[in-house]
Each structure stands twice: as C-alpha cells, then as structure tokens.
Symmetry: C2
Subunit: 368 residues, 2 copies
C-alpha cells in the first residue's frame, strides 16, 4: 500500500523493527541514557538550546500543552488560522478560557503579515499569538520567520506554534526565530508511527508558565522538566516509540538537517509540477504551497469518493480528501518523511489513467 | 532480562511483533474494522455494555480524563487514598479546581468501609468518590465491589475508579458494580507496551459530562464518542499499539476472563508464600495483598539500592523500590500479564542467595 495521506506516513522497515524491542524499566539506567541521547538530538532538530519534552500523546495533546502551560483564563490571545488545524488551536485556547480573537485567512492562502501587524497594533492587551507553521488541511506553509519577526520583533508577544507537520520537514530555527513554544508529533517528518509528541519551551515560556493559571496535570511541563533532571519521564511513556525515535533521530542527524530540508523541498516540487502538467489546479497559491502535502482541486463533475476508492482499490494508493468545508472538494497527497519520487510518480500515473476515464478533460490537452 | 517491575511488563513476542506492522490510514476502512473489533472486546473485559474509549496517553492521562469529563470546579470530591497513586488521583482533581476531602489510610492497608460510610454520611454535598482499585505503590487491592456498594448503593455518588493496574488482572464488573468511570492503561495486565489508555463511561457519567465545567479538549470523551460513531479516532492515535492491542485482546478473550483471573490469583500467591518462607516480611496485610504486585519490607541493615543493583547486574532481574516515603523501605515485584512461576522463582532464588550475603539473618532459620 502506498500510504500518501499527510500522516501517518510509511515508516522505514528498520525503524518499524525497533518498535518490537522488549520492554525496559522506564526508571532504569538504559532508559535514562536513551532519554538524554534522544533529547540532545531533538534539540538539534528544533535548533534550540532549551529542553524538548516528549509527551505520550497525539499532536493535539501537544497543542493543548502549549496553551495550558503558558496562559491563564481571560488572557487575550490572537489566533491566526489558515485552515482546520488553526481553528483547532484556537478552540483549545477558548475551551481553557482564553479571550480569543481569530484572524482568519482564505483557505489556500497564508497569514498576511500586514493584517497581523495591524491587528496587533490595534490591541496592545494581546498576550499571545497562535500560528500554524504548516497547515495540512490546505497544503499551505506559513512564513514563520517573518511572522516571528512581527510577533516577537515588533510586538514582543508570546509566540505559540503548531509545528505538527513542519518540524523535521521544513526549515525551522526555534531560538533564532524566538519561538516560545513549538508543538510537533511523531507521525510526520520524523519517519515514525504516531504516538509521541514533542514540545519546545523557551525561557520566556517558563516565565509565562510561572504565572499561567489554566489547569493542567498530565501536560504540565514542570513535571517533565523535574523528572528530566533525573533522566526519567513523569509518567510511563510509550517505550516502543522511544526505541523507534532513537533510531529515527540517528538517521536524521546522520543525513544532516540541511540535506533533509533540501530533499524535502525537492520532493515537494515534484507533485506540484506533475499535477499542473495534467491540467489539474493546485489548491494552495504556488508561493505558499507546502513541501509536505499537496492539495489539488477535484475537477468539476468528478466524485471525490469514487476517485479515492479507485486509487485505493485498483492502485493501492491511499490519499486524503479535504476536511470540513473542503470535504469532497480537494485531494491531499502527503509526501513527508522518506518519500521517493517513484512513490509520487505512481500517484501521478494513477491519476492520469483514472481521471480521463471519469470524464475529466484536461485543459492542457489540445483538441485537434 | 527478567523485568519484574509493576509495569511495563514483559510483552509476549507475537504481540511485540505486531508493533512493527506498516502504518495504515486511521480514517480508512481497515482502521474502522479494527476499532470496532477491539472496542467490542474491551467491553467484554470491562464487563460493560457502554463504549470504552481508547486514549493515546499514559494511565495518568486517563485519570485526568475521568476527572475533567465528570466534574466542575468547586465540586466536592471525596478522594480515598491508600498510596501514591491515590494521592495522584486526588491531586489531579485538586488541580482542576475540585473541592477535595482526602480520606487516607495507612500504607499497606485498604479503604476501610466504615470510615468511608461515615465520611459520606457526614457530608451530603459530596458529589463524587475517587478510588484506586489496585495500589501498585504498596501492593494492595481495594475491595471495589464493597466500596461500590457503599458509594453507589447507599449514597448514590459518582464513582471514579483508577483501574490502571487492575483491569484485565483482577475481577471487575463495571456495570454490575455500577462504576461510573474506570481508567486503565496498556502496560499492565493487557500484556502490551505502554502508550494507550482505556476508559469506561456510564450513562450516569454522561449525564455528569453534560454539566461538567472543567476545561478539556484532548481528553474530552464527547469527541471520542462522536468519532467512534463513524469508526474513527478524533486525533491520530498510536496505530502500532492498536495492532498489538488487537492481538492481545484476541488472546485474552480466547483464554477467557475467568481463567485469566484464576491464573493471576494463582501467580499472586506464589511470591507471597515464597518470600514468607525466606523469613521476609510482606508490606501489605495478607487479606488485602494484591495479586499483581508484591511488596516486601527491606530487612534492617540491608541497603535497597545495593540489593536492586545486585539483582540487576548479577541476575538480570529488574525489581522496583518504593515510591516517595517508601523509597528504600520496600521492594516491589511485579507479576502482571503472562508471568510464569519460573520467572518468580528466579527472583526468589536470587533473593535467597543475595540477602544472606548482605547480612540478612532469616528469623525462620533455626540457629543450632
């Protein structure tokens, strides 16, 4: 099966193999050594000198951790959103009592820096800004460096980042860009199954933590830091995932982050040019299109469920439809982690065979 | 390595092997089928007609879910505690704003039903009672059926149960005993690695949920129920753990719960009689001793760290020390899941060789 959804991604066999290792004591010396080795490498990927905390949770759990560890009920929070995952981040903050202002942008586009700037200018009571680095629901990447320049450089707000599908796929420099919290999850660029989430926490975030009154227990990072000092997790973690993470990070560091980002950017271009060549329309503006997931519009008259079923049943290719208002309107092709051009070419070939049979007439096909 | 801590436990090879299966789409037909199959079997283990929800989290996350899905800040909660995990359950409720009354009992003993009854009688404002079914920090099992008779039968309170180390090890009848919420985790009797938690939720718990004001997002069971209806998880789950759970449940149901409980009770007696025969003193009262973990007192003059190191380095046996005030005072031997008498005998033999060398003179050894 060619699993081409935007996470979980196909995991290399040797990393999958690590998942089957026998259990160890999570409060013993072997785990401690692994925790410190893994943490050191996570810091390299995040490009930070601060600790990265490992949560046994989905990415959404890490988003909740970002919010509840830094904010109090009633805090004014500006939630930028360019899709479903931005909406979710805002909803978490709202559920925990933040006073949220939502700054939304049309689906398929990115955060507009001018609008961000003017919104922050208009309300100096805003304490924190929420940003989605890479919006998998639309296939758009925000320019996080420029956003951070505004949020941190010009306005000095807390910057909380959903990096679930960006960290370890798209260039990111946590400290240099002054991101206070970045939450990410294992089933994306890390070449791992789902089950773990990782979160960075700046010195400024720790100062916010000291005053933050949102209730928290399982996700309270103070406990993670406390136990980290003795080489332990606060609660029994997903040990199998730690084994797999250990090997995945070894491979990531061996490849080198510059090479990894370059490879990811190259594979990101591949489906875009292939889809355009078939006369299909990309959903995201080319300038902001994500290198981790590509969304194209379902041509008029084509039934997306039928298309997805044909790809799955006849070609063993699994792609994703759109979420919420985009359901049935776009198809999303994931290419995170160790995706090859051949795997993407198979998707392009399947589309090129299937769509015309379903009645799609490519505008690029000249009619003689 | 003979891993004899009270979780994680050694996982059978064929179940570990499932952890290495390739990823699938968590929103596709294969996952849906697995989710429904697994859920049906989880209901058999919990002995309930209600749905069981699967969380990607440690057991502590499930304890948080039990609290935040049923309670509001200011609610009066009676927290019974017989050890560290009871204390933790109370702390979670307190962090989220419950007005808690702690009813503690001496370490090594269980909840006293008379004291429970008189405490509930004295304050009819109490809304919920927290109970630890099996306290792994002391090796004590509470008589949950009798406790439920008091809490539900006599006083009709919400009953929230920490069943982390009891479910699938110790007889439990969720519906018959009218337990409203029972939280448990994979790394105990289920023969699985850590990484998933399971939680039951009664109709009464759902009525409490409708009014419960504690903030929740990742652990909001309404989302899990909503997505369950279309055969999906709300957030990307630990797919590898789902594969392993699927096989583990098949084996559990094949063995039969009555046979499983009987086997567990038999293996529970084995270390107790073996330790007593060596002249060691058990920590828990015999009447309430757990069949999943056995704690014995470190004899006077013996250094617990040295003992643990010798067992680990010379015998490849990993046991646990006590937690918090019991650190260095007791040793805990885990025997959950598929533990054999031979594995326990190895621990007993190692102790019988080591302790005398460390200066322990057994009171059962007659001096000639």
């Amino acid at each position: 099966m060619n699993l081409r959804i935007p996470g979980p991604i196909p995991v290399p066999d040797d990393i999958l193999h690590e998942m089957s290792r026998p259990m160890i004591n999570h409060r013993g010396p072997e785990f401690k050594e692994m925790l410190y080795r893994v943490s050191g490498r996570l810091k390299q990927v995040f490009d930070t000198r601060e600790n990265i905390y490992i949560l046994t949770a989905s990415g959404t759990g890490a988003l909740e951790a970002a919010v509840v560890n830094t904010l109090s009920p009633g805090d004014k929070v500006l939630c930028t959103t360019i899709g479903s995952f931005g909406d979710r981040f805002a909803e978490i903050a709202e559920r925990f009592g933040a006073d949220i202002t939502t700054l939304g942008f049309p689906l398929g586009t990115a955060v507009d820096l001018e609008q961000l700037r003017s919104t922050l200018e208009a309300d100096d009571g805003i304490k924190a800004v929420l940003v989605t680095h890479n919006e998998t629901s639309t296939g758009v990447t925000n320019d996080l460096e420029s956003i951070a320049n505004v949020v941190k450089g010009q306005f000095d707000k807390l910057l909380l980042v959903d990096g679930i599908s960006s960290v370890c796929s798209i260039p990111l420099h946590t400290d240099a860009w002054r991101c206070d919290v970045i939450a990410t999850a294992s089933q994306k660029g890390w070449m791992l199954p789902p089950g773990l989430a990782f979160i960075s926490f700046s010195k400024r975030a720790w100062r916010a933590h000291a005053e933050a009154k949102m209730p928290r227990f399982y996700f309270d990072l103070a406990q993670y830091q406390h136990y980290f000092e003795i080489g332990q997790p606060p609660y029994t973690p997903s040990i199998s995932m730690m084994f797999a993470l250990d090997l995945a990070l070894e491979r990531i560091i061996d490849e080198g982050l510059a090479a990894l980002y370059e490879r990811q950017a190259r594979i990101g271009k591949f489906p875009r040019s292939g889809l355009l060549a078939q006369g299909l329309e990309l959903f995201a503006n080319e300038r902001v299109a994500s290198d981790t997931v590509t969304a194209f519009k379902i041509p008029n008259g084509i039934d997306s469920t039928e298309l997805i079923n044909i790809l799955q049943n006849e070609y063993q290719i699994v792609v994703a439809t759109g979420q919420e208002s985009l359901k049935g309107k776009i198809i999303r092709i994931g290419h995170m982690g160790h995706t090859t051009e051949a795997e993407i070419q198979d998707v392009l070939d399947a589309l090129a065979e299937t769509l015309p049979k379903m009645g799609f007439i490519s505008p690029t096909t000249s009619v003689v």
